[in-house]
């Protein structure tokens, strides 16, 4: 019948398309990954890239169809693609509007552990010198509730926060009281080794819905080696504390983090197995940060990014294998990256945001009453660098803290869309700014990207993730599931 027109009638004529903004990065000799401003991507050959750029792409080809539907090219009259790109950009940055969510209270620097890589903690009985006071806590809470964010998370850190649990209790109760009229979505988390948990502490946590975040570095020998405490029983006490905590608060009310020490590097599989054994459904492979004791004890310099990436790859591949065998287990850093790569939602991961999350997504109230832009900022302070001190609880107003020139300057100067080598990096849509790290290592908030270990680490992880999903559709399915967990 002639009343129907053939497909070709609905195709554009050759060379009629326009390029939308995109960037690319070679993956191997043959292929590149191209990304647009909202983090959508496609794998194409170098040859197709060149054809695309010279506007010689055949409108009947699959690649043309793919690039048009993923908003890398548009035809005259395509208004929806521009509208969608705008919508996705707004969605990506929508968290900024809410401003600060995470408020970290360093209630004490004292700790029962003396971990080599720890950034800050002290073995001391001197409460006066290293504990936050009630007065400071009250002032900090006043600042917390000035945040316009409808969701507020208060995280207790240390040292070991359970050594100053009376103050934790006071802050939880006061915050809840204030919240009776504020009606925020209020969450509490205590970062603890769990070695000091008691039933009394747990019952309080249960009554006030306080979650616990803990550390598990791997099997007993590794954990005890990384995390020494008097009696060398860190692991034993962790296991006991974990069971006790889960028994009272519920199985999923405890999450664990690991830190990669030099001794961890050959143990990726053992570490994952240890997490499995304890019933965790995921792990966060954390590299060492160049702050505090990590630098003093030289453990930071004990391995470089390439070595860590090798460890990460080994761990990730083992976790992928587990998933293929039907075990649902996530590598959480990958999951955060994949949320950025595979969805239009931003996971709100404070350490990888643009503009940087320092000060605006998270803020730290230190034990001594000073206010810092991030957890790393207060660790720098323990190395006598107070650059990112943005206020003091006794002398600064809310406005002083958040319009502090040091903070705003650092955010602006490190903004990835205008930072040299970031702005034209294909992975920029998935990355973030880290002014504190670059200041610490390179002496300015921008840093020197070719030498930046931060940059190397993120690019390494991203390339690994891209490579794995490119070569194995089953991995893509697993990654899609991880991406939608956040």
């Amino acid at each position: 019948m002639t009343k129907f027109s053939p497909l070709v009638e609905y195709k554009a004529t050759q060379g009629q398309y326009q390029l939308l903004p995109f960037k690319f990065e070679p993956l191997d000799d043959h292929d590149v990954v191209i990304t647009n401003y909202v983090g959508e991507f496609a794998f194409i050959s170098r040859e197709d890239l060149e054809t695309t750029l010279s506007k010689k792409l055949d409108p009947n080809s699959k690649i043309y169809s793919l690039l048009r539907s993923r908003h890398f090219i548009k035809e005259n009259g395509d208004e929806a693609s521009i509208e969608l790109l705008g919508l996705k950009t707004r969605t990506k940055y929508s968290n900024l509007r809410n401003f600060t969510n995470l408020h970290i209270f360093v209630v004490t620097l004292r700790c029962d552990h003396s971990c080599q890589y720890c950034q800050v903690s002290r073995q001391s009985e001197n409460k006066v010198a290293f504990d936050m006071t009630i007065d400071m806590a009250e002032k900090a809470l006043a600042i917390v509730f000035r945040s316009p964010n409808p969701a507020i998370k208060i995280e207790f850190q240390g040292g070991e926060p359970l050594l100053n649990f009376d103050l934790v209790k006071h802050i939880v109760l006061s915050a809840k009281e204030i919240n009776e009229t504020q009606n925020r979505d209020l969450q509490f988390v205590i970062t603890s080794t769990l070695t000091l948990v008691t039933d009394e502490i747990l019952l309080f946590c249960k009554a006030h819905k306080v979650y616990l975040s803990t550390s598990l570095d791997g099997p007993e020998d590794l954990h005890n080696r990384n995390r020494p405490r008097p009696g060398r029983d860190s692991y034993e006490r962790f296991v006991e504390g974990l069971e006790r905590t889960r028994g009272v608060l519920g199985f999923d009310a405890v999450s664990a983090l690991m830190t990669t020490s030099p001794a961890s590097l050959t143990r990726a599989k053992d570490i994952v197995d240890e997490y499995l054994r304890h019933g965790f459904d995921g792990i966060f492979f954390r590299h060492l940060s160049p702050y505090g004791f990590a630098i003093k004890t030289k453990s930071y310099g004990a391995y470089n990014v390439d070595r860590w990436l090798k460890f990460y790859e080994e761990g990730l591949d083992y976790i992928i294998e587990l998933n293929k065998q039907g075990v649902r287990f996530t590598e959480q850093f990958a999951a955060l990256m994949l949320t950025k790569m595979l969805t239009s939602n931003d996971p709100g991961y404070v350490d990888l945001m643009n503009p940087s999350g320092a000060g605006i997504a998270a803020v730290v109230f230190n034990y001594d009453g000073d206010i810092y832009a991030s957890d790393e900022s207060r660790m720098l302070r323990e190395m006598d660098d107070t650059t990112f001190k943005i206020g003091n609880l006794f002398t600064s107003s809310y406005e002083d803290v958040f319009t502090n020139e040091v903070l705003l300057g650092a955010l602006e100067d490190s903004f990835t869309l205008s930072a040299p080598m970031c702005s034209d990096c294909a992975f920029e849509p998935w990355c973030g700014a880290d002014p504190v790290y670059h200041h610490a290592m390179h002496g300015d908030v921008l840093g020197r990207k070719p030498e930046s270990e931060f940059c190397k680490r993120i690019m390494g992880v991203v390339k690994l993730l891209l490579e794995r999903m490119k070569s194995d559709p089953q991995v893509k399915t697993i990654f899609m599931r991880w991406a939608n967990r956040c």
């Binding site: 129907f4 497909l7 195709k11 395509d78 929806a80 969805t343 939608n484």
Partner: protein, 386 residues
């Protein structure tokens, strides 16, 4: 298969004079209180005494025609034996009768027009370029006659939104007369690219309204080709965005055939990346009727051949948390990973099984076939579960 319209056996003389269709709400209750009878038509199925006072009488062959007032009586053939209490029918001047609403069915769709600005390759209701706005007038009437407790009705076409403001008026009217009834509209979505129209639609503030909009491919050219209209994809997507901007519920409907099955997973990616906020995605098999028969060579693909693409699309959509449903597919032609979203959906009046299905043990779980598929050809891969 039920006959939804047909010729009446005999109509009274008075009726032959009517110029306009007349709508009747049927009652089978001879004891209906008198005040209620005037507005109702009595449906006589047996030879019980004739109740008086009804506005009209329809007589099935199983009833004797004795005793009915001749000026208000219409005889019906056996094919209308399924008529029942609460049904709404329309008697036309040319002596045909149409069922507009069946009270015991959950699949009531009101055809508002046969006009459309698309000309889809597989259209089951080929568009006509005639003024059929009497259908809209009829819909306004029919809504008033439907039982207040009706769970769900649909508005379909053609393209219902071609009426513009009058379509919005119908929505207001339906909300007023059937406030408890879910309303599902089938539209190609293009009218909603006009923000003012989307706004007017949203301002109806209907408590339970969903619009089903087709997007056939992530490739705009393929979509435009399937609906035979250049620029359709762009306008439809912008329509969906406007609807969601105004907080309206949208279902994306995908008919799977030879032109669309290959791009199914890329379409799932597109939806997950761009339209994650839609309320539901329906992946549907082809109905062998209307234009689909004329274009069968360019449309027909045995569902067994795209079952992996279907699985992949379902996997993507469900991973992203999109509510997904697979409609109009025989159970034996889909992979088992599709089952969590598999729906028995073909409207009761057009659902049948093939002869191969007779020994199948899972017929009660199966979506079966469109009657049109049974008549006009279906998959050779049907395998009964034994």
């Amino acid at each position: 298969m039920l006959m939804l319209s047909g010729r009446v056996v005999r109509k009274s003389d008075v009726l032959s004079d009517i110029k306009e269709p007349r709508l009747y709400s049927l009652s089978t209750n001879p004891y209906l209180p008198l005040p209620l009878r005037g507005k109702k038509a009595f449906l006589a199925r047996d030879s019980s005494p004739v109740p008086t006072g009804f506005g009209h009488y329809f007589v099935l062959p199983s009833a004797s025609s004795e005793g009915f007032p001749p000026d208000k009586t219409t005889g019906l053939g056996l094919e209308f034996d399924y008529f029942g209490d609460g049904d709404v029918v329309s008697l036309l001047p040319d002596g045909r009768i149409r069922s507009l609403f069946r009270a015991n069915s959950n699949h009531n769709s009101i055809l508002l027009t046969e006009q459309c600005n698309h000309y889809c390759l597989m259209c089951s209701q080929p568009p006509k370029r005639v003024d059929d706005s009497w259908l809209l007038t009829e819909a306004f009437e029919a809504i008033k006659m439907m039982p207040r407790e009706t769970k769900e009705i649909g508005f379909t076409g053609g393209e219902p939104t071609i009426y513009g403001d009058d379509f919005i008026k119908l929505l207001h009217h339906t909300k007023s007369w059937l406030p408890q009834t879910s309303l599902h509209v089938l539209s190609n979505g293009r009218a909603f690219a006009d923000e003012a129209f989307s706004k007017a639609y949203a301002q109806v503030e209907h408590p339970d309204l969903m619009v089903g909009i087709p997007i056939y491919s992530a490739d705009a050219s393929v979509h435009d080709y399937v609906v035979q209209s250049k620029g359709a994809f762009d306008e439809t997507v912008r329509g969906v965005l406007n609807l969601k901007r105004y907080g309206q519920r949208v279902e994306i409907r995908v008919v799977i055939h030879k032109q669309t099955c290959e791009g199914l997973s890329e379409l799932a990616n597109f939806i997950s990346r761009n339209l994650l906020f839609v309320d539901q995605v329906a992946l549907m098999g082809l109905e062998h009727i209307g234009f689909a028969r004329a274009n069968i060579d360019s449309l027909w693909v045995d569902p067994i051949e795209y079952k992996d693409q279907l699985s992949e699309a379902v996997k993507i959509l469900t991973s992203y948390g999109v509510r997904t449903a697979v409609y109009n597919h025989p159970l034996c032609l889909v992979n088992s990973d599709v089952l969590p979203v598999y729906v028995k959906s073909i409207s009761d009046w057009k659902n049948e099984f093939a002869k191969e299905c007779e020994p199948c043990l899972r017929k009660s779980e199966c979506g079966g076939f469109f009657s049109s598929g049974i008549r006009n050809g279906y998959s050779q891969s049907i395998t009964p579960f034994l």
